[in-house]
C-alpha cells in the first residue's frame, strides 16, 4: 500500500487519476444513453472507425485526436442517418464502417515513415501517459456534455425513448439524435486515449450494468455509474501497480469483478428473502 501512496507524488500518476475521474463522469452520461438506446454495437462501429482517422492524422503529421474525432463523428452521424432512412441494413452498414476504419488506420500507420507509437497503445490505451493537453480536452468535453444533459435532459431521453411521439409533440428529434451522435463520438475518442480502441466500451457499459442492478431510472443510473466507474478505475490502477500489469486491462477486470460481486450479493439476498 505504501508504494501505491508514494505514486501520488508523480505527475504521470496524478494525470492518470484525473483522467479516470473525468472519463468516468463522461462515460457515465454517454454510456447511459448508449445502453438505454441499445446502441452498443453502433458505438463499437464508431470506436473502430475512428482508428482510420488516427492513422491518416499520423501520416499527415497532424494531431491524432482531431483525426479520430473527425472519423468518429462522420461514422456516428452516418449511422444515425442510415437508421433514420431505414433503406440499408443498419447492422451491415455498421460492420462495413467498422472494418473500413480499422483497415485505413492500419494502412496509414504502416505507411507513416519514421517513428510511430506502437499499435498496442492504440488498441489498449495508455492511461499512464496521459498528458496535460489530453486532460484539458477531456475536461472541456466532459463539461460540455454535462451542460448539454442538464439543459436538455427531457428532449434527450424523449428523442431516444419514442422519437415518433416526440416529433409529433414538437421536439426537434433529428437535431437531438444527431447532436447525441456527435457527443457519443467525442466521448469515445477522448476515452480511447486512456483505454484504447478495444477496451474503451467497457467504461460505457459495465458501470451502467452495475448501476442498473439498483435502479431503472435514467436520472439515477448516471450518478451511480460515475461512482462505480471511479471505484473500478481507482482499484484497477492500484492492482495494475501492485502486480505490474497493464492498467486499462486491470480497470476492466475490476469493473467486471465489481459487477459480478454485487450481482452475487443481490442474488444471495433474494434467495434468503424467499426462504423466510
Amino acid at each position: 500500500m505504501t508504494d501505491f501512496i508514494s505514486l501520488f507524488q508523480y505527475t504521470f500518476f496524478q494525470n492518470a487519476l484525473m483522467a479516470s475521474v473525468l472519463i468516468s463522469i463522461l462515460a457515465a452520461m454517454i454510456g447511459t444513453y448508449i445502453v438505454s438506446r441499445k446502441i452498443v454495437f453502433i458505438s463499437g462501429g464508431i470506436t473502430h472507425a475512428s482508428f482510420g482517422g488516427i492513422g491518416i492524422a499520423y501520416f499527415l503529421g497532424l494531431n491524432p485526436f482531431f483525426g479520430a474525432a473527425l472519423f468518429a463523428i462522420l461514422t456516428g452521424t452516418s449511422i444515425e442517418w442510415i437508421s433514420s432512412k431505414g433503406k440499408v441494413r443498419e447492422d451491415s452498414a455498421i460492420a462495413i464502417l467498422w472494418s473500413l476504419g480499422m483497415a485505413l488506420g492500419i494502412i496509414f500507420v504502416f505507411m507513416t515513415p519514421g517513428y510511430t507509437p506502437n499499435l498496442m497503445s492504440f488498441l489498449f490505451g495508455s492511461i499512464l501517459s496521459v498528458g496535460k493537453s489530453d486532460l484539458v480536452i477531456m475536461l472541456v468535453i466532459t463539461l460540455f456534455t454535462a451542460l448539454f444533459f442538464l439543459v436538455w435532459y427531457r428532449p434527450i431521453i424523449y428523442s431516444a425513448f419514442d422519437p415518433e411521439f416526440s416529433k409529433i409533440n414538437g421536439i426537434p428529434v433529428a437535431f437531438f439524435r444527431y447532436a447525441m451522435a456527435v457527443l457519443v463520438a467525442l466521448a469515445i475518442v477522448v476515452s480511447i486515449r486512456a483505454m484504447g480502441i478495444i477496451l474503451v466500451l467497457s467504461l460505457f457499459t459495465i458501470p451502467q450494468s452495475t448501476a442498473m442492478l439498483f435502479t431503472n431510472s435514467f436520472k439515477r443510473i448516471i450518478p451511480l455509474s460515475i461512482l462505480w466507474g471511479w471505484i473500478g478505475s481507482f482499484s484497477g490502477l492500484y492492482i495494475a501497480n501492485h502486480f505490474n500489469i497493464p492498467s486499462g486491462a486491470a480497470i476492466i477486470f475490476m469493473l467486471t469483478i465489481q459487477f459480478l460481486v454485487i450481482k452475487g450479493i443481490i442474488v444471495v439476498l433474494e434467495m434468503q428473502k424467499r426462504k423466510k
Binding site: R154, F161, D162, F165, K167, N169, G170, N216, F218
Partner: protein, 245 residues
Amino acid sequence: MSKLLARLENVTAGYNGEPVLKGVSLEIRENDFIGIIGPNGGGKTTMLKVLLGILEPFRGNVDFPTGKINIGYLPQASQIDRSFPISVKEVVEAGLKPDRAWSHHLSKSQKDAAHKLLKEAGMERYYKKPIGELSGGQLQKVLLCRAIVSNPALLVLDEPNTYVDKHFESELHQWLKKLNEKMAIVLVSHDVGTIPSLVKSIACVNGTLHYHPSNQLTTELLKVYDCPIDLITHGHVPHRVLKNH
C-alpha cells in the same frame, strides 16, 4: 354542423416511392368518433402518420381549417421499448410542452396536471416506477395519459386493444366515451368485433378509404368497400358474420 378540425384531401402516401394509400380523403370534426378498420397492410397506420404530420404524402394535402390543433397520439404498444429506463411520471410528462419555448423544463402546475391524471387513471402508486414493471394494460393506460395530458382537440389511437385483457378493454372503452365529450377521436383497429359499438362512424381503409357515416356495418357495405373482414358484432344484439366476404 360542428367545426371542422382536420381534413385529408386526396392523399396518396407510402414508403420508398411505393404508395400504400391511394387518393384518400377524410374530414374530422369536433366530437367525431371515427373508427378506422381494414386489413393489415391496408394503410391504416400510414394514414395516421400523414394526419400526424410525421409522413409527407406523395400527393394531396392535410389541412387544419381552424389553425394548427393539438393532437394527442397513442402509438401501437409494440413501438414502445419496455426495457428503456424511464418512469411512469416521465412518460406522462412527455405529453406536455414546456410553457417557455427556450426551456425544456416544465412548470409545477404542468407536473401537477400529469400527477392528477395518473391518479384519476388509478395509476398513482406506479408514479415513480419504471415502465418495465407494468402489465400491458397498465402501460396502455400510461400511454393514454401521455396522449391526453395536454387536453388535445383530437385524440388518435393506433390499435389500443392489442396486448390488453378483456377487463382493461371495457375500462378503456368507458374512458374513451367520456373523453369523446371533450375531444374528437380517431381510433384505428383491425378488430372489428368491438369497434362498431364504440364509435360514431366508420372508415374502411384498404388502399383507398370508404367512409360510412354511422356505426352500422352490413355485409353488402363491406362487399362494396372490398374490406375482407371475418367477424362483426354491433348494437345491443350481437350480430355475427363469420364467413370471409
